[in-house]
Symmetry: C3
Subunit: 343 residues, 3 copies
């Protein structure tokens, strides 16, 4: 693809002369003469020195500093440009519809037009798989599930019975949906399991990362809203409700009955305690544990989580403590010893 055509596609400005043919995208330190390299962050400017790409996709804010020996395509947002360009340069392999002869389809299951079901996949009794959806090898869909249209289920995913997944959602390898939640009552030295009879409803355009687990409701429903993106190894407890377009990074844990608003960001390894409410647009900034409700739009971090600015300030001061102790001691020495020691 000519650089000029790429520039049009990403709404960028081609500069520097020449219009090379580009066949791929590569990081600066690996790009060859047919590759488009990219520069989105100032911290990677130093990589320009040794780089020999065919062309450079560069953020407008870095354009002045990004001196290279090749044509440049200047855009406002490099990542957005890549999102537009990559599907053109790396078209997805066409997927042939069809049911592998080893797939086991339960009685009463309905498969939409154009579905693809790979080797050893199992679809439970009465389940419905929407048109053009793909079940990878070894996927197990329990009885009575409803999978929408154009859904991609990667290998080794388990849907417990009755799970619903909305259109265009993507489930990565090893995802478990509709797992029994963690519910027991104490009883004579032990614990009696509370049957987990609720549902598990995944919205449309949701993506769920590898080996992430989502419990079913204990009685009500665990609900993941439309457009939610969840990374790998995340735990979502029973009865949790997650609003639309919320982002949940790897290894986050959300305990039972928590309610997460719309457009929230939970950063990697964050934990949210049971029954907590996190308001729309809030951010939990890092590892730690949220033990009280978080207002809409707020940024919290730490354990127990507090407003992030407060938490940072407290952390910063913490490292000045040894000095403070010294100063306090100096003050004490200037005062009559007896009275201080009386305290």
């Amino acid at each position: 693809v000519r650089a000029s055509i790429i520039a049009d596609l990403v709404e960028g400005r081609l500069e520097g002369g020449g219009d090379p043919d580009i066949t791929g995208v590569a990081p600066l330190d690996r790009a060859g003469p047919r590759d488009l390299a990219f520069l989105a962050q100032a911290r990677y400017l130093s990589y320009l020195a040794g780089a020999r790409p065919g062309a450079l996709l560069v953020a407008a804010k870095l354009a002045e500093q990004a001196i290279v020996d090749c044509p440049r395509i200047v855009v406002r947002d490099v990542h957005r440009a890549l999102a537009l360009l990559l599907p053109e340069l790396y078209p997805e392999a066409a997927v042939e519809a069809g049911i592998h002869p080893t797939a086991v389809i339960g009685p009463g299951a309905e498969l939409g037009a154009g579905v693809r079901i790979d080797a050893y996949a199992v679809v439970g009794a009465g389940s419905r798989i929407g048109g053009r959806s793909r079940l990878g090898a070894h996927v197990v869909v329990g009885d009575g599930c409803v999978v929408g249209e154009d859904v991609i289920v990667h290998p080794h995913v388990t849907l417990y019975p009755g799970v619903q997944v909305g259109d265009r959602s993507i489930l990565h390898g090893g995802v478990r949906l509709g797992v029994d939640g963690f519910g027991y009552v104490h009883e004579r030295g032990g614990h009696r399991k509370v049957p987990q009879v609720g549902g598990c409803v995944i919205g449309r355009d949701v993506e769920i990362g590898a080996n992430t687990t989502v419990d079913r409701g204990s009685i009500g429903v665990t609900e993941i809203g439309d457009g939610v993106k969840i990374d790998n190894l995340v735990h979502i407890g029973h009865n949790v409700r997650i609003g639309e377009h919320t982002i949940i990074i790897a290894q986050v844990g959300v305990s039972g009955s928590a309610t997460i608003g719309r457009g929230v960001t939970l950063a990697g390894q964050a934990g949210v305690n049971g029954h907590i409410r996190i308001g729309d647009g809030a951010t939990i900034a890092g590892p730690g544990g949220v033990f009280s409700n978080v207002p809409a739009g707020a940024v919290y971090s730490g354990y127990p989580a507090r407003p992030h600015k407060e938490a940072l300030r407290a952390q910063a001061v913490l490292f000045r403590l040894p000095e403070l102790i010294k100063r306090l001691r100096a003050v004490e020495r200037l005062l009559p010893a007896k009275e201080v020691s009386d305290e």
Copy 2:
């Protein structure tokens, strides 16, 4: 089921007139006229306003405040009542015994009466599966394993060779038992693997959550005691011993050779360092890392974990530090400058 019959079943008191027919249980905000809603915590009192359930199951301590337009069943412990009621209202689908024709049963394997083995399950050579146990689709049981009676193994579980699982235990999707522990010795710039030749013994009435991993012993045995309940995505290292009825919430990590007592609670995302001992009945209260032994009955939290009250107090004071610095500066200003600066 009549509300009066439910009240008897859960040892509750039916109040408010009427005896509606109840067909399900639902959260307050979703309950319809045939549903029993429930109220166990004061924080959900506000949901009563818009609620229109057929009847309300309510904790005695909230009974006075819980004003509703429908019959009420008052109980001491709502969750215990649900544990008794749910199996009646939502009876488990009967499971037919049988071996799916695609299951691969190794030479010398013994299957007890009434077992059910689903599609594509694999049972290794010489393994024994106890009576009425169920292996879900795609379960892999290695050679020489012993699975007790009435065990439920959900799809995609892996038992490495030689693993033992006690009666009535439940293993959720993606559980890995008897994995090689993390053991190496340094050697000429690299690491040599120490063969992991120990065992992995899971007790009776244990439940293990989805995608949780339990390593086998390096030489001895990794042991999970009777009645232990483990949530999703937990890591249990080699040689760990966990006492009876201990509760381990999601994403906890227990490093090798740690010994966890009976009736312990490890809250979500807690970490326990190698070789640590946690006494009977202790609680680790949140994320953090336990780097020293914890006495029986103690409550610890934080990193490194300390007695929870101390940790909370220290955290609270931390946020007063900026004010303390101000006060110290004020004191310093009142004193002869020279001598303080001499310090």
Copy 3:
């Protein structure tokens, strides 16, 4: 095996008379008269009292204190001795080569001499499996993958298309390699997926623990260096590069585009933020989050991570704060009240 032969094998000194026949290794509290027990740490000295092993493998530094009634083999490093001894005492069962009749081998796939492929494994089109490698039951290898020689892939592992795995590496149950990374661009209230078109290259002699996930590169490559050892439930984001012989303990999370040097240790539950660089030989000491680059050889801990000594000192002082506040109040009382309150 005679104790004297074991002593030769591990380059140890047999002491205490007698040369018993040893058939296994066991922990002190479980060893019988045919077992070799071992003592590597002083904290287990108290277990000697009740122990009745056939012989004791003991670290030279503990030899004087380790009084037992049986022959002893004294070595410098007990764990190294075990690494040498265990393969002799517990020889791995011979693995017969062969392709299980239920395995599905895609068109154009190449299988090296002596490979073993277990029940229901799936090998994608055009993939290559090197000589003597073993694919466990239910392993799914995507299209176009390259697996080296003598690789061991345990059951239920998923390789997404195009993944490469080096010779002699070991992948445990539920590992997912080459998963789509977490990459989106904001767009009209939602998020558009950035296609993840990069590679995922695992070096030689790598071991990856159960249910660990490794994302493919977004554009470049996610690279795990030779000899890296990764524990269970670890998350490695897209474009991460990990240097040779680095050790990553359970439940660590490494965010996208982080660069981890050679010989680094990331302790359990540590988190590394995106684009961070961790220098060769550095150690991240515990749970927490690394939000700034870490120099080679440094030891960091906490959230945000700081040099470990500083972090420990700050933590220690934190618990003295209530006392400091008291002392400050005492000082204030000795000074003219009015001026302090003016502050």
